[in-house]
Chain length 425, copies 2
């Protein structure tokens, strides 16, 4: 079959009629399927159920640096949990702060801290208009945090190696009102791109005009590999040290997609200076986070090896799903030339660029047929995809037989919208 | 024995020599005791150990309003936990938001929300100098939050019925830059005073000059009775309703001193309008709090009766401690007339007013002898007690035999400092 773009009107019209008929058949089934959010499925959640009973009547509540984890105290987390995150991220335990159940919350609080206290300069909220760079497509909740705080967002294009560093370097060196950038350096949300060594090195060597510029390094998928050929990410803190630039980065990580999304533990890795800055706020904000849940994680995993073995179980569940999605895209959309997509080695998403100007229509068609996707545009600042092309597909939550059907609907919708557009051109 | 104030110098000097000798004996023992913070003791913590195993392999993770508490979602908490807090506070479940492990954190975030978004008027952080009323003596961490956000603090005297309402009414009706007040309405920190019905009614009927004025009603000790004659607090929301004033109050509560201080659950009770306001921030701040820990609490307690039965176990541990402290004060300090104190029916503290101008000296003497108390002045805004008189005694944490010794040191120190002062006058 030729690509849709190369078809003549009659042939395309015939194809359109076929697609419409197929689409109506799915619609008539009254489906209710969801590929919207990066939520683990039920089978994944059950992998960690044994963690819930790892604290027994015999458990000692005293840890190496805490007299009783059930009580108040220990603002920055127990040392055993710091060590676990330090090993996951390749940093030292003294550079780790362990918080509550949400790394998003830690990121939000970090931005709030910079707004209120600043980073060696005036508080961000006293500097008038300030800006953040937003590699796009990116994570909608990052953009939401920036927008909440009234920080202006500048989209930066993504390349196969990560954010376009020529653009990043130029912008941050010229404009001192640019105070930060959102990064998901491994298996980026939504494209599943891992930043190349050169990209990481260029980030670590940045010399921003704003002395209070900070990189938010959201390493959400640091050990979330799903194939035999996992990506490898350069350790940003090793590179920062070479540049005397350790204060440039706040790194985030959590067990939300390792144990339980609602009841994991989250952490920050940062320089001594940056941890000191954050503590100026945390000292007033709370007496400390849930150390019993930290203990639960530590007792359950024991060490990094334990965590990595656990991730293999997730992989066993996730790999077939990602294969299904990519195979469906290959078999259903390749010939027609109406879309491009990524084939990630890990993370939680497959990013699909449908025909320009049709993403909203595809999402609407899917919705009409009972398949909920992330809103079109959500992967761009202010929810505005300039090309109306990017759609984030989240294959993890639905049971695999539902995923198959949801993808059938998705592929038909992508083709239908493309044909419509060409016919109306 | 006559009071110190009525002794002649020779008699007082003789007394001083005796006290000094006794003090030196304690000092020589190299004690290391702590009555500084309102921390439950080890025996109290163990009361809730069974909660840690209440989730079993057979537990269903689906609750009435949540498909799986292990996963993301459910920003404001599970309905079962809302009901439990609603019953504790005497409000409706739809007026409850259940958060993480710290009500202090919820209060901090609420102030942050009002700073950033305001309450129907300009955001608080865009209004120049704003002020908070701080009934004093009060809770140092409340004052810390206000100070962190650069909110000016005005001390308001406490009476036996709660904050001096003549002062409160006058100030809030005259000054629109006064935006709020900190209240611990039951068994106040540190005095253990419960607001009288009239005080609660006057709070509920307040007509502040600032339309965006809010009362922070920290009901930390709502069911924390320790005697046969518990205090009773009028339900503020019932009174607010009578005045059409439901948006005036944010109420806070937690299980920190019911189950585990480090791993409880915390809640906000508020009007529909106020919950809507908070959600404008929470929607960006997090995907939700630890619902497994909410489930743990709900399964363990089942209902309000379960919680109240549990509180009786706390009482059995705490009552003898409070009796010991008050009896020591009676027997050691009454005759000399060097101090006054409260005898609370609940809460976590005994408040002692030592001879004016000697609180810092008493705390220092205790410290020198190995007994750590809350810093003198901590119970006042900016850490400044104008009379240098109030000391917060926290009897819950040390084992009871240590508490006895700590109180002996405290009483000798209080007398020694008073005698010193009189001799140097």
């Amino acid at each position: 079959m030729p690509t849709y773009a190369s078809m003549d009107k009659a042939a395309l019209n015939e194809e359109y009629q076929k697609l419409s008929a197929a689409y109506e058949e799915y619609k008539a089934r009254g489906l209710s399927l969801n590929m919207a959010r990066g939520k683990p499925g039920a089978e994944q959640l059950s992998l960690s159920n044994d963690m819930l009973n790892v604290i027994t009547p015999e458990t000692a509540f005293k840890t190496e640096d805490n007299p009783d984890v059930r009580n108040y105290g220990g603002l920055d987390g127990i040392i055993e949990a710091k060590r676990l995150f330090a090993d996951i991220l390749g940093v030292k335990p003294e550079n780790i702060f362990v918080g509550g159940n949400s790394s998003l919350n830690l990121m939000f609080d970090t931005i709030a801290c910079l707004m209120e206290l600043g980073a060696g300069a005036e508080p961000w909220n006293k500097q008038g208009t300030i800006k953040f760079l937003c590699p796009s497509p990116g994570y909608d909740r990052h953009f939401g945090v920036t927008e909440y705080f009234g920080i202006e967002m500048i989209a930066v294009p993504m390349t196969a190696e990560g954010p376009d560093m020529d653009v990043v370097e130029k912008l941050v060196s010229e404009d001192a009102s640019i105070k930060g950038i959102w990064c998901v350096p491994k298996y980026s949300n939504p494209q599943g791109i891992t930043y190349s060594d050169e990209t990481v090195r260029r980030f670590a060597a940045l010399r921003p005009a704003a002395k209070d510029f900070r990189i938010i390094w959201d390493n959400a998928y640091v050990i979330h590999d799903i194939t035999d050929t996992p990506d490898s990410l350069l350790n940003i803190f090793d590179e920062l040290k070479k540049n005397g630039n350790e204060d440039l980065v706040f790194e985030f990580c959590s067990t939300s997609k390792i144990t339980f999304p609602g009841a994991g533990i989250a952490a920050i890795a940062a320089s001594e200076n940056n941890l000191k800055l954050l503590s100026k706020r945390y000292n007033f904000q709370t007496i400390g986070y849930d150390k019993l849940n930290m203990l639960r994680h530590v007792l359950y995993f024991k060490n990094l090896e334990g965590v990595l073995a656990h991730m293999q179980k997730h992989r066993a569940i996730l790999e077939p799903r990602f294969e299904l999605v990519v195979n469906m895209l290959e078999s259903e959309l390749k010939e027609s030339g109406v879309a491009k997509w990524t084939k990630p080695n890990g993370g939680y998403f497959v990013s699909v660029d449908v025909t320009e100007g049709t993403a909203k229509r595809v999402v609407a068609l899917c919705k009409e047929a009972g398949v909920v996707l992330t809103g079109a545009g959500a992967t761009y600042p202010y929810g505005k995809d300039p090309k109306d092309s990017n759609i984030r597909v989240a294959p993890t939550y639905p049971p695999i037989e539902e995923l198959q059907i949801a993808m059938e609907v998705f592929c038909i919708s992508a083709k239908l919208a493309a044909a419509e557009k060409l016919l109306n051109a």
